[in-house]
């Protein structure tokens, strides 16, 4: 069992065995989270700061709960409200924070690469909670854990990722992870929401849902990112729902035991039919949320072990 990372900035630098290590540990944290006494002390004495430069309720709470269950001192900083408005640069914010000696820094930022930049300037372990349209590694890991538990394996599966691929960091991290674990990946969505050059990633690209979903083991829906739309990617929400929204009829071409996933928050009636999303026989959307906490506990535990193995850096 090895995990050689100082930070968790993306799926790209991870080896397949590191991914397996993390998921194995996360399985144990699922058990812990389901027990009455949910507390562990592996992060005891460590300080975790959640720094969200973009609004998020779900991811931020998930990281907060994960940290608290492991005994860390957790602090949330809503960055949109504070220093950015006063004109402070990202690096200055990072240096200010660094002087408070956090051990784990969880960062979400609207610009691709911003979390990498920040990680270069601080001494603590940094977890990317989503940067622009680049990566969202813990989301891909929680999706992987959900798939592994539902399907009993994380390789040689037909996985369809559907919808707004272009604006999605979730899609990028998932493609990288599922590709590393040797799955067959199809991307399905309107051509205007398909980033250029994706065929070079070893994925198949479909415009038509019925073709893309045929014999799929896993159907992963993406949120239609309305807040990122500069306008004009799709003609209307109803046409989008008609052609790319997941309903029982479109799902019927997938394998009978195919699972349906969504990173949330959902736009019911836009990318997914509400009844289908609530169908406990098909939808694993609630499990994804549960796995999210476990995967984040595992990630912080592994990073903290590496942190403790290093000699203390005296200079700030």
């Amino acid at each position: 069992m090895r995990f050689d990372q100082r930070h968790l900035l993306g799926i790209e630098p991870l080896r397949p065995d590191e991914i397996t290590t993390l998921l194995d540990l996360a399985d144990q944290y699922v058990t812990l989270s389901r027990s009455r006494e949910k507390h562990s002390s592996v992060l005891s004495g460590l300080t975790q700061i959640n720094m969200f430069f973009e609004n998020s309720t779900r991811t931020q709470s998930s990281f907060e709960i994960a940290g608290k269950r492991l005994g860390a001192d957790v602090m949330n900083m809503a960055m949109q409200a504070s220093s950015i408005k006063k004109g402070e640069t990202l690096i200055d914010t990072a240096l200010t924070l660094n002087a408070m000696h956090p051990d784990l820094l969880v960062v979400r930022h609207p610009h691709s690469g911003a979390v990498d930049l920040l990680a270069q300037k601080v001494n603590c372990a940094v977890i990317n909670a989503g940067d622009g349209r680049h990566e969202h590694p813990t989301q891909a890991l929680l999706d992987a854990l959900t798939i592994r538990r539902a399907k009993g394996r994380l390789h040689r599966l037909n996985i369809a990722i559907c919808g707004d691929i272009a604006h999605s960091r979730v899609a990028r991290s998932n493609i990288l992870l599922l590709h590393k674990m040797e799955n067959r990946i199809r991307l399905v969505g309107p051509a205007t929401l398909m980033p250029p050059g994706m065929d070079a990633f070893g994925v198949e690209i479909y415009d038509d849902m019925r073709e893309g979903l045929a014999d799929a083991d896993v159907v992963m829906m993406l949120r239609l990112q309305k807040e990122r739309m500069d306008g004009g990617f799709i003609p209307s929400e109803r046409e989008y729902y008609h052609r790319w929204g997941l309903d029982a009829e479109k799902l019927s071409v997938a394998k009978p035991d195919a699972i349906v996933m969504h990173p949330g928050p959902m736009n019911r009636g836009v990318e997914i039919d509400g009844t289908l999303a609530d169908d406990i026989n098909r939808s694993v959307i609630q499990e994804q949320v549960e796995m999210g906490v476990a995967v984040r506990m595992a990630a912080m535990d592994l990073l903290a072990r590496n942190l403790r193995a290093r000699p203390t850096e005296l200079s700030a």
């Binding site: 790209e12 640069t89 990202l90 690096i91 930022h109 610009h111 691709s112 690469g113 911003a114 990498d116 930049l117 940067d131 622009g132 349209r133 680049h134 990566e135 960091r169 990028r172 980033p195 250029p196 050059g197 994706m198 070079a200 990633f201 500069d230």
Partner: protein
Amino acid sequence: MTATLITHARLIDPDAGSISDGALLLDGGRIAERFDTPAPEVPGAEVIDAGGAFLAPGIVDIGVKVGEPGERHKESYKTAGLAAAAGGVTTMVTRPDTTPAIDTPEVLTFIRDRAEDDSPVNVLPMAALTKGREGREMTELGFLLDAGAVAFTDCDRVVTDTKVLSRAMTYARSLGALIMAHPQEPGLSKGGAATSGKFASLRGLPSVSPMAERMGLDRDIALVEMTGVRYHADQITTARALPALERAKANGFDVTAGTSMHHLTLNEMDLADYRTFFKVKPPLRSEDDRQAVLEAVRTGLIDIIGSFHTPQDEESKRLPFEEAASGAVGLETMLPVLLRLYHSGELDLPTLFRALSLNPAKRLGLDCGRLAKGAPADLLLFDADKPFILDRFKLQSKSKNTPFDGARLQGKVIATFVAGTAVYRSA
């Protein structure tokens, strides 16, 4: 001023496309005589023994940004001039994208005076094509021409209103003025920080299709056909734009094109983990594009190579990639960086200096850029092989934003002459 005799030099003659052993006698600011080996004794002349180093016509760099007026903390005429001299650039053709823009004869006269006082190398200013570079009304092209503007350009801003541009072009044609444009379809390229493709998609960067350059060039060429203006495309950086350029030249339009040192030596993969010093405008392209553009320089389809020297302070680069400023300094690094292409066998020296010195001089109607008797003694003497590791903090520029920091390079300027006087000598 005494005469100078440079002996035992390897003369790079871009006009003849040759390299030969020889000597030059500089007198009265001009090349008084060119000798084949061995050079005779010239009484009273200071003799510089080049010891087999290359002697080439000084570089004429079109598209240099100096921070005056408005951003003198980034670059002044003094520091830009020192950087140019150290880089073998004997003429800087400066951009008007200053704050405020150089769009009136008064501002132009001010910066010409500043340049004359402070810069050791020649400075020829370009002026804005439209007032405030806003693309709405043409500037006083006639007055600006009289005040010494050598070309008109709104730099990286595209004049989107074709009516405005066509009128400005028609007026410029009546004056015989040269227009330099940035070929780009601004709607398509809006918000783009990288070239679209696998790399930008992987990094999650908002990207621009290389087609935007061709569309911009196509439009401009149609307007050139309509108005008959003398037109220069500042940077052609994609394979897709080249056929359009070739057709325009074959049709006999007065069209030339340039490209940048960065697009000839780097590609999009160099951005790696969001290295903002590699953020230039237009963004770095694919390796296929780089090779196509290099081939176009070899064949002469692309006429001119420039540094597009763009000083930026540390603060504007220490930001997330999308927010960081574009541009890189290049006056001092251009020669050793481009010599990489010579050392790799991709470009010979006469072709290189045709694009660096001869063609830009010709395009602006200057009589420099050649090693002929009677031409201005704007020269550069350099050792093409001397290896060194570039340290950005040793550059003369006030701004140190070069993507080549720490790069292993070969080639050092030994001396730079402007009008027969050494403005730079290596220590």
